[in-house]
Each structure stands twice: as C-alpha cells, then as structure tokens.
Amino acid sequence: MTNRSDFINTIRQALGRSAPLTSAPQPPELAPQAIRLVSPDEDLPAHFAQQVAANAMSIQTLPADQVATKIIDLLRQRNCKSAALPVSPLLDSLGLIERLKTAGIDARRWDELSADAVYDLDAGITDVHAAVAETGSLVIQAHRDHGRVLSLVPMIHIAVVQTSDIVPDLFDLMEKIQRDKSASGTVIITGPSKTSDIEGNLVIGVHGPGEVHVFLLAAPTKI
C-alpha cells in the first residue's frame, strides 16, 4: 500500500514543487456580504418560519408553557404511542417527559435507551443546536446526550427551537460550528426525507422521518 509521504509527494510533484510550502497559502477571501443570502438585520424568526413551511415542514410559534400541550395533541392526532427524547436542559425545563407520560405516551430519554430501541418508537422529539433562517434548516449535533438516531429513525420528528438558536445564514452556521467544535457529528436537516428517483415522482418519507414539525418558542426560555 502507498504510505502518506509517497502519496503526498506524488501530488506535490504534480504541482511542480519539490518541498512543502513554507507558509500557509491564502485562500480566497470570504466576505460575509458577498456570501450571505440573509443578513443578521432581517427578522430572523419570521424568515426561518417562512422557509420551514416552504420546505414541507409544519411550524407553530407559541409560548413555552403551551408547547407540551401542543406536542401531546399532535402525537395523539398521529396515533403515536411512544417517543424518544435527548437529554436536554431545554426539553427538561419544559417538563416534557413528565407531561408526555401523564398523557399516556411512552416517553423515553436517551440515557435510558439504546440506539436499536429507537427503531420501535413512533416519534423523536428533540431540541436543536442551531437553526438557519436562510434555508429553514434544523441543525443537530451528536454527543453523548443526543444520539444520532433520535431525529432520524422514527417516522415523525418534532423539533423545539428557541429564537436564540436561529442564525441568519449557512455562512453564520459554519462559523458557529467552527467555534463549538466539540461534537462528533453535525447534520443540517431541511425537511422530511424524500426521493424522486422513480421517474421524478416526489415521495416523502424514504429512510428518515416522513414528517417534521417545528415548535418555535415565542420568547427565549431561561434555563
């Protein structure tokens, strides 16, 4: 097998150099105003809500004390009997697990679940690491308290978003991800899973959730 130095040397020679660069190259300047499609001055929650709806997700903006009730309504309406949640200060502060259990829904937190067990649950209810106004995206990072499967395996994904989570643009999101580099993985979610592989026909719900519902908290919750 080829080793690292031979591999890199081949490339270096292809570029007409015999030695490594002595200083870091200067990549093209990334001027925010040239890249951003949404500026920080805009009404970010409104823009976000509009884009969420445009990408086949539902969105409701409401005060924190109504979220649990609305989520329970939604789950009942969809005939969901069970749900998986991450270990989340936000979701805990909303008293979500207790409320769901009282309502007869088998709600389980990630610390008492295995990844495989999530396959048998009806819904995943998560917080987000960030949200993007430009694209209406939900950004989720994997860490020990938040498994990758929670927003992926169940047919219904419900996300609770605070206005303070919203960044204007993908460009700002990347800056944020760069700053909080602790997570082992990041996913930017923009709508329910879909395909149009069969003759261009749109089908919703392929391997991931077929429904994504966003609850946007009207005012930031103090944790």
Binding site: T2, D6, F7, I8, T10, I11, A14, L15, G16, P20, L21, P25, P27, P28, L30, A34, I35, L113, S114, A115, D116, Y119, E134, T135, A142, H143, R144, G147, R148, V149, L152, V153, L170, F171, L173, M174, E175, I177, Q178, S184, G185, T186, V187, I188, I189, T190, S193, K194, T195, S196, D197, I198, E199, G200, N201, V203, G205, V206, H207, G208
Partner: protein, 493 residues
C-alpha cells in the same frame, strides 16, 4: 431475471450481485458510436431522460435566479476549488492531521486496486458481514461491491435509485439520478418481483417497501461505506449531501465506517463549504439545500451510543494526480452536481450509458478519457456540439467546451485519430493557409458537386464517405454557380 430469483440460503431475498452486468455496462472495447446510435434510436429512453433532465435543468434555472448574484457566487466557488487544487499537498496534509486528531485512520490508495485491497482488509479484520452503502460514484469507479461480495459479505446499496440499479444488475446513468433511464413501468415489476408483493407501480408504495426492506439491513449492518461530496481540511470532516436519509443511517448505525473519497474533494474551511453548499443542490435539483447535509469524521466520543466505533478515510488518487500535473487541472474542480448533464442536448438524447463510464455527460466526455486513456475513449471529446450549455451550467466554472477542444487537439497531435481523418484535416488546413489552394479546391468541389447534382434535379441525394450522414435524412442543394469571391469581384467593377 433468472439469477435474480435464485435464492441465497438463509436469506429471504436474493442478494443482488453485479457479477453479470448488463451488456451496455461492459466497458472493454468501448464503442461510443454503436452505443450512442442505439440509445438515440430508443424512443422510450429519449422520452424518459429528456423529460427528467429538462425538469431538473428548469428547476436549476429558477433556483439560481433567486440568488442576488449567482455568477459572482459561482466565480467564488470556482476560485475556492482552484486555490485548493493549486495547494492540494498542503490542504491534504492538514486534512489528514485533523482526521487523525478525531480518532480516524487515513488510508492512501494510488489506484483502484489499492483502494479495493484496503477496504476489503478493513472488512476482513473487523469480521464484518453486512455492509450498507450510501451513494458513491467513486465506489462505482473502482467497482467495490463485487470485491466485498467475493469475500462473503452482503452489500446493500441504500439510495433508492442505486438499490434499483443493484437489483437490476445495471449501472447508474446519471450522477445524481442513477435510474434516470428507467420508466416507472420498467421499475415496478422489478421491485414487486424482488419484494414478492402484488404488482403496483405507485412510487409511494414501492418506496415504502424499500424503506421496510432496507431498515433491517441498516439495523444489522456492521460496515457502512460512503463517498464524500466535500472534505473539510480545517476540521478533518467529510460532508455528504443526501435527500433520503440513507447517508445518515449509514454513518450512524454500523460500528465500522469507511468513507472512500477522491483526493480532489478537499476544501480549506467550513466557510468555503457554505459557498459550495449554496450552489450544489441548486445546480443539481434546484433545491436551496438537500434535505440532509451531514458533517462527520472520526469515531463516536466517549459515552456515545451511536456513531461508528472506527472511522477510516480512504483517499483515492486513481489518475487524479496526473490530471493535476497537466493542462486539465481545472476539471478536478467538479463537484458532481450533474448540471452539465441536464443542460446537454447530446446527453438528453443518448443518456448516460453511451459514455461507457460512471461519469457521463459533458464532464464525463472530458474526464473519462483523462482517467482511462485517450486511445480507448477518443470518441468522447467529439460527443459535443460545443454549444456551451455545460459551461454556462457549471457552478465551479469549468470551461468544459474549451477542454474538449483541447482534447481533440491532443487526439490529433498524438496521432490517435485515423490516417484518413488526419489526411482530410491536413488538406483542409493547407487549403485554408493558401489563398490559391483555397480557391482551387473550392472550385473543384463546386464543379464536382454540380456535376453530381445535374442528373437529380439540382439536388444532391447521396454524398460519398462520412458526408453521407448528412444526406441520409435530407437532400442537399447544389452549390451556387458562382462563389462569393467571384461575385464580389464582378460587382466591384
């Protein structure tokens, strides 16, 4: 269909294998003229491919127009990719260091054979039995699946289109929509037979069957294989963009994860990624961004209950460093969005299989000869009318028509084209260089053609040699009695 129905012991469903590819998939003794002529005569194919490409291309047009300054963003994207290629040794070193810092292992494959050995060894050493793959053109390039199957593994394509390709022992014919060449009526019986369900051609139902079937595979799989849309040097991460969610499952469930990526996929920073992501999906399907954009690399952290326990990044050269060294470096900017395929009037008529490689369309006509040799693929650079639609569509400003012209020049200079062709061009060039020769040869042609047309009412019904293609479907009027030069001289007096 016969071997499709042959059951594998211990498995309810037959395991599709690619050991018996469809006739068009065989690339040895590639004959573009035969393949493209057959394809162009297939009305069904033309209708299916034509409709799908026009739809995607239209969405792309609408979507790019929504950007305040699409051409400035494309220019920036092109500069980012070009800068990275020009300093690729530096950024690859940075990437490798950062992947290792995340607990991943980086492997180096000079060619497809080495990549196959590396991945087969990872699977063997970890005793992997079931592999789930998300869509990867590079794995098609090196023909990975048969090698893993030969060592007794089950390998499942999990992108719906790629899954259908696998079940059909076919090859993808488009970079983004692998089964763009198939109609719903062709897909339905295939999948219903495979899943042993009642016949339906409802895409929703067929997709639901595939979801259920592949869910079990994801749940059991111990090896995941992905490609990569981008590699971020600054963070040591792979970025993949998908719509179905199979890419997320592939990177979340199996304990061993391998990403096989071409070395040209590097970008320096996350900020660069934001620029390219704004263009990738828009150019490809017209979406602002794909449903899932995943950034991963390295192993799961302490205390995590999902994500891979091992992460391997296999960097593939396979001819790329040679392209980097020559006049065609710019072609390595390609982000495989397929905008040039959708825009191309030739691709729309002949489909992807005619190009004889996993990379079809204008970009394929360009990089396939570079990857696999100009000798065997010398017809591909001619498979273009040089109309420029591909260059106009490219989000990273690759000047595809110019490079195709340069390849044609190379074919001539390396004496790959036939003696007769070279003779004709030499004569033509000589006559263009000398006014006297030009006039004489023009007069001789005029005389000969008018003589020929005299007995068929002033029309040429059949031209000799390669010119015969023109008169196959139409007549040609005879040349005028006097040339432009003659008329000019006369009227000046």
């Amino acid at each position: 269909m016969a071997d499709l129905l042959a059951r594998n012991p211990g498995d309810h469903h037959p395991i599709p294998s690619r050991r018996a590819p469809a006739p068009h998939a065989q690339t040895s003794s590639f004959n573009f003229k035969v393949l493209s002529t057959q394809a162009a005569a297939d009305e069904n194919l033309k209708r299916t491919v034509g409709a799908a490409t026009v739809k995607q291309w239209t969405s792309r047009q609408v979507s790019l127009r929504q950007l305040p300054d699409a051409s400035a963003l494309r220019h920036l994207a092109g500069r980012i990719k070009q800068h990275t290629l020009d300093h690729l040794d530096y950024y690859l070193e940075q990437l490798i260091d950062n992947v290792e810092r995340r607990g991943g292992k980086v492997h180096f494959a000079r060619n497809g054979g080495e990549a196959l050995q590396i991945i087969a060894a990872i699977a063997r050493e970890n005793d992997c039995k079931i592999c789930v793959k998300s869509k990867s053109m590079v794995s098609e390039e090196i023909e990975l699946t048969p090698v893993l199957e030969q060592q007794g593994m089950q390998v499942w394509e999990t992108d719906l289109g790629e899954f259908i390709v696998q079940v059909n022992h076919d090859k993808p014919s488009h970079l983004v929509q692998p089964i763009i060449h198939m109609s719903r009526r062709q897909i339905a019986p295939l999948l219903c037979d495979y899943f042993k369900t009642d016949y339906t051609d409802d895409p929703q139902t067929l997709t639901r069957h595939a979801r259920q079937f592949l869910r079990d595979k994801f749940r059991q799989a111990d090896l995941g294989i992905t490609g990569g849309n981008f590699l971020v040097a600054q963070t040591g991460q792979v970025c993949i963009a998908t719509n179905e969610g199979n890419g997320r499952l592939t990177t979340s469930m199996p304990r061993v994860l391998v990403s096989l990526v071409g070395l040209e996929k590097v970008v320096p920073r996350l900020g660069d990624l934001s620029v390219l992501l704004k263009l990738l999906a828009r150019s490809s399907t017209g979406q602002a961004i794909t449903v899932y954009t995943s950034l991963f690399g390295g192993t799961r952290a302490a205390g995590e209950k999902d994500g891979p326990e091992q992460f391997h990044l296999v960097l593939l050269d396979n001819g790329r460093s040679e392209i980097l060294a020559g006049d065609y470096r710019q072609t390595l900017r390609c982000i495989r969005c397929a905008a040039c395929l959708n825009a191309c009037p030739v691709y729309r008529v002949i489909g992807g299989h005619s190009y004889g490689s996993v990379y079809p369309g204008p970009i394929g006509a360009l990089i396939t000869p570079l990857f696999r040799g100009l000798h065997e693929y010398n017809d591909l650079p001619q498979a273009s009318s040089l109309c420029g639609a591909c260059a106009e569509a490219c989000p990273v400003e690759i000047d595809i028509p110019q490079h195709l012209v340069n390849l044609r020049r190379d074919i001539h200079q390396k004496k790959i084209s036939s003696m007769g062709e070279r003779l004709i061009y030499r004569l033509w060039a000589a006559s263009l260089r000398s006014p006297l020769l030009y006039r004489w040869s023009g007069r001789a042609q005029k005389w000969a053609l008018r003589l020929r047309a005299r007995f068929s009412g002033g029309w040429l019904k059949k031209l000799p040699g390669p010119a015969g293609g023109w008169t196959q479907v139409r007549d040609m009027p005879q040349p005028a009695a006097h040339t432009f030069h003659e008329l000019w001289k006369k009227r000046k007096k």
